[in-house]
Amino acid sequence: MIYMDNVKGNSLIKIPWFNLAVFFLITILAYWIDLRGTGFAHLFAPITGVGDAVGGLDRLLLGAAIGIAVVADMHAILILSKRYQVVLIWIELLIIFLSFFYSFGLDYGFIQKKIGFMITQGAVTTLYISAISISIAFVLALIGAIAKLSSNTFAIAIANFYTSFFRGLPLLVQVYLLYLGLPQMGWVIDAIPAGVIALSLCYGAYMTEIFRAGITSIDRGQWEAARGLALNNFQTMRLIILPQAMRVIIPPTGNQFIAMLKDSSLVSVLGVWELMFLARTQGQTQFKHFEMLITAALIYWVLSMGLEMIQSRIERKFKKVH
């Protein structure tokens, strides 16, 4: 948290001209991008009394309605307690997003028909591949970071090569190399193991850098204090350095986990029926691929939000007091 200055900024929202400015800005913006025909027109139809009708006045009216709505909304939000403010703003942003969405005229019946299988087969596969891979990556990253920060040249060079190689090559190529290359040496590997190995190695390389940054962020004095108490390297790492480094490590690790959810779709080239694979195949057959893509996207988003919630919980645990 930014160390706050214990200063209340002059609350802008209480100043009349600020409200006026917001109103005009939003109105002009809404007029300019012309929101008739999007979900907004419908949302505001009861007020503006127009549907998707054409005409310059309609357009202005809709703009103004949105302008007023935004200003009113800001005031309404401030009445709530902080916690509910965040929730409400979220809901509103979601509605705006969905309103834009509306203009695509998607086939919702089709989505409804397919979504069940996408979750039970696709999302489950995606999630379990990601979970296994990130766990292995975590271990690799820890080893990699310690090797990179060690004073052993072999360890440094190998760890360096590892991060350079597995970050440098596209994940897709790594998947191919494992899937097509290992059989050349007599080891025919299945699609999912090949995918998991490739994802683990690749993300392990990325996370090595994250762990390295985390470990170096800890003050030298902490190492010295641990040494002074005769803790050995392993104890120092486990009890003193990593718990403190976690604050710095968790947010980018959360990034990686969320990114992996989506990168795991690369194993679909091997024919694994994960979320993105289903989205593509289900949609293409009946030329509803945009519908399916959006459905998959929303499922991914829900999964990410789950991870975000877990992340913020872990963060709170490691933040505690200091």
Partner: protein, 250 residues
Amino acid sequence: MSTSKQDETIIQVKNINKTFLNKIKALVDFSIDISRGEVLVVIGPSGSGKSTFLRCLNRLEVVDSGSIVIDGIELNDQLENLLEIRKEVGIVFQNFNLFPHLTVLENANLAQIQVRKRSKAEATSVSMSLLEKVGIVDKAKSYPSQLSGGQQQRVAIARALAMNPNVMLFDEATSALDPEMVGEVLEVMRQLAHEGMTMVCVSHEMGFAREVGDRVVFMDEGAIVEQGTPEKVFIQPERKRTQFFLNQVL
């Protein structure tokens, strides 16, 4: 302290040199023998190498040359020797270096459990009695960031003592303490000295030096200028440099 127990050398420092950045000579041909149970007070101007000397004693700084032997074990690049020595040598840092993610009690317990292999209950009872002695038993569940400067310093002292070391290194161990508290910490230290603990204290407080020191060493520019009993060094200093330094004292 008057009873000097010069019978057995526990710390033997021979001709150590330490240079930073290839130019800053922090220690120059520094030698000293310290006896078991002795309380050595190191005084000297800021930047004279006092902290560096202490840090060399458990190899937080590596000496450029010279040798250090503690309790018969050579302090060199062998890991076993090092851990052995560090178990027996406690240190209180000038800036405390408490573990911010642990409570006061956990700070004091940690090494006892991990290194001394005490049970948690055992460790807690040792810690609590020490926290009691330094008067912050009520802060046992607080985190370091919630403590005042003096409180932090006392936690650092308790944490080091909880390991029952044979040798304690104090780097300005009482600088953040009020006189009242200094008195209490002194009491603890006196007791430890009686129990045979060897102590090396860097201090700026001459009163403190006089009160607890068996021997006072006056350092300047990385070398010993003068040493002897507190009486001798404070009352009849031989060297000009020492006289000049002590004249400034209030």
